[in-house]
């Protein structure tokens, strides 16, 4: 099976507190630790596991600046065979639809049976997979947490729905699936693995290579600013050293029925 996985380099949620620049134009990016979007990492692991079962290849693609090269290499160190890097200034300010259009062009240059994305990324929009499927006229399922190969044309998939229940579907290939975290256990990638792929050539493409114009990827939906809303009252923050805080907290818990 030929599988394409769309990945994105994002600030690592486990490593960062997100702060906003004083003019609200962007988040403070100077000291951020970046990594591959968590959902995408599960998608790549799933693709590799499918390849290990039925053969084929796994290609990872990203839309992003120079630095995005590192996440492609990381996913190749996991076991992806090829990387494709779409890097064009005109895409820096684009929206989800612009990214989906660029990915569509990549899909059409290949011959993929299965296209995976993460269910969502740092902006929480959860949109690119669904848009890509619609642009390609392919069947789509979101929030996929289980994949079983039925035959060469069909997958049985589980979607994670409310309450932790699972919605089982059959879907025809080729298709686009957005992958939910927890579907597998992504393998660990060591420094040695990353060194191994350090020299691998990763083709870079610009909009013109994809047959797209700047107008076609101009954002329809524009982010105007970042802001922190006027906070409500919020929590009463307990002050003091840890002993004092713990003492105050125990008193409160006692009063609220928090100790049996």
């Amino acid at each position: 099976m030929e599988i394409l996985v769309c990945v994105k380099r994002v600030p690592d949620p486990a490593e960062n507190e997100i702060e906003i620049k004083s003019d609200g134009s962007d988040i403070e990016r100077d000291d951020l630790v970046y990594s591959v979007n968590e959902w995408d990492n599960y998608a790549v692991e799933e693709a590799i596991q499918i390849k290990d079962k039925v053969g084929g290849s796994v290609t990872v693609v990203t839309v992003g600046d120079e630095e995005s090269d590192e996440v492609l290499r990381r996913e190749m160190a996991m076991g992806a065979d090829k990387g494709i890097h779409i890097n064009d200034e005109a895409l820096e300010e684009t929206d989800g639809l612009g990214v989906a259009k660029a990915l569509k062009a990549v899909v059409e240059k290949g011959n993929y049976d299965l296209i995976l994305t993460g269910a969502q990324a740092d902006d929480g929009a959860a949109q690119v997979g669904g848009m890509l499927a619609a642009l390609l006229d392919l069947p789509y399922a979101s929030l996929v947490n289980y994949i079983e190969i039925v035959d060469e044309n069909t997958l049985k998939i589980g979607r994670e729905i409310e309450g932790g229940n699972q919605e089982i579907n059959e879907i025809k290939l080729p298709c686009v699936l957005s992958i939910q975290t927890g579907i597998n256990e992504p393998r660990y990638v060591g420094i040695r693995g990353i060194r191994k792929v350090a020299g691998v050539e990763i083709p870079e493409m610009e909009l013109s290579d994809l047959g797209l114009s700047e107008d076609e990827v101009a954002p329809r939906v524009k982010r105007l600013d970042y802001f922190i809303p006027e906070m409500g009252e919020g929590a009463e923050i307990l002050e003091g050293d840890m002993e004092e805080i713990a003492e105050k907290l125990v008193e409160l818990l006692k009063a609220k029925g928090g100790i049996k």
């Binding site: 906003i20 579907n169 939906v221 105007l224 970042y226 929590a235 923050i237 805080i245």
Partner: protein, 324 residues
């Protein structure tokens, strides 16, 4: 001319989802004078029940009755919506596991802009709409702007708008099944697999010590267990802890886990993403312990402790034992 706004109504076997009463207020925020039309898909008696219920809130209800819609398959509903929605429609859909499935592709097929997971409408000036979203799991908010002259698809985060409980409408139910057309999908719904019950039922607990990503590693969960034991409560968790397989899925609180209603909820190293907070009901006393003073959890908590939970938990557990 006032705008036509459509609200996608979710129902479960004829019972309306909470979002059904919230979308009308989101619509009114976009255009006070809009005619808001409820879109209700399904089949048979359950659908009729849902339509009658929706008609108590919406002046117009479009009913789409198809035998293969007894379960809502977004891949079937999307092309039907394209068939029935007039040009220039504003279409509102709940941002949940169904909306995420349906809406992005719908905007592409209708060739209109898409704003996902909206938590507020800032302003509307003519065809320009400025909506409010969140990024980085609620750590920051953003204003986003687009032009809805040709229509728009917006998903609305559940719980972001007040429900309209007035039931003041006696709406007209219009059967649009024929206009929706006969469509086929390459994705077929098979069945629902119910989540397995775990050894501990967190939904029945009065005291929950809930751990998140901030607990750092699996071994540290013991610290939470020790506190829970001292308090007479049990340990629950947020999603990353289950993804890492540190705790069983039956312990997860949130939209994709369990809905809990304890008296006291102690959130340990949990940032407070809306999917998690949505699983905490019954207005418990919430304590948040987190190193990041800006974590969204402090907005919903009653009391906050800005400390590293790994250092603070043992101190707290000792104090509980000492003072109880």
């Amino acid at each position: 001319m006032s705008r036509e706004i459509f609200a996608y109504i979710e129902h479960h076997d004829g019972v309306l989802d909470d979002s059904a009463l919230e979308l009308i207020n989101a619509a009114k925020k976009i255009d006070e004078s809009a005619n808001v039309v409820a879109l209700v898909f399904g089949s048979g008696d359950n659908l009729n029940k849902a339509c009658e219920e929706a008609a108590k809130t919406y002046n117009t209800v479009w009913k789409i009755d198809k035998p293969d819609l007894s379960y809502p398959n977004a891949e079937l509903i999307r092309p039907m919506l394209v068939n029935i929605l007039p040009k220039g429609s504003v279409c509102l859909v709940p941002h949940d596991t169904f909306g995420i499935d349906l809406a992005p592709g719908l905007s592409v097929k209708m060739d209109v802009p898409y704003i996902p997971d909206v938590v507020g409408i800032d302003k509307v000036e003519g065809d320009k709409i400025i909506a409010i979203r969140q990024e980085y799991s609620g750590q920051v908010h953003t204003h986003v702007e687009t032009d809805m002259a040709n229509g728009i698809v917006i998903t609305i985060r559940p719980g972001s708008f007040e429900p309209d409980e007035s039931k003041s409408a006696s709406g007209e139910i219009v059967d649009k099944s024929a206009d929706a057309g006969d469509v086929e999908a390459k994705r077929k719904f098979i069945e629902i697999k119910e989540a397995e019950a775990g050894e501990v039922d967190i939904t029945q607990a009065d005291i929950l010590v809930s751990v998140g990503r901030g607990i750092g590693e699996q071994e540290n969960i013991e610290l939470a267990e020790e506190l829970a034991e001292a308090l007479g409560g049990v340990v629950s968790c947020s999603r990353p802890v289950v993804d890492a397989k540190w705790l069983d899925h039956s312990r997860q609180v949130g939209t994709s886990g369990k809905t809990v209603k304890p008296k006291v909820y102690i959130a340990v190293g949990i940032s407070g993403a809306f999917q998690h907070v949505a699983g905490i009901k019954g207005n418990p006393f919430i304590v948040a312990i987190n190193t990041n003073p800006k974590a969204p959890i402090f907005q919903v908590a009653d009391v906050g402790v800005v400390e590293d939970c790994i250092e603070f938990l043992p101190v707290l557990t000792e104090k509980v034992k000492e003072m109880k």
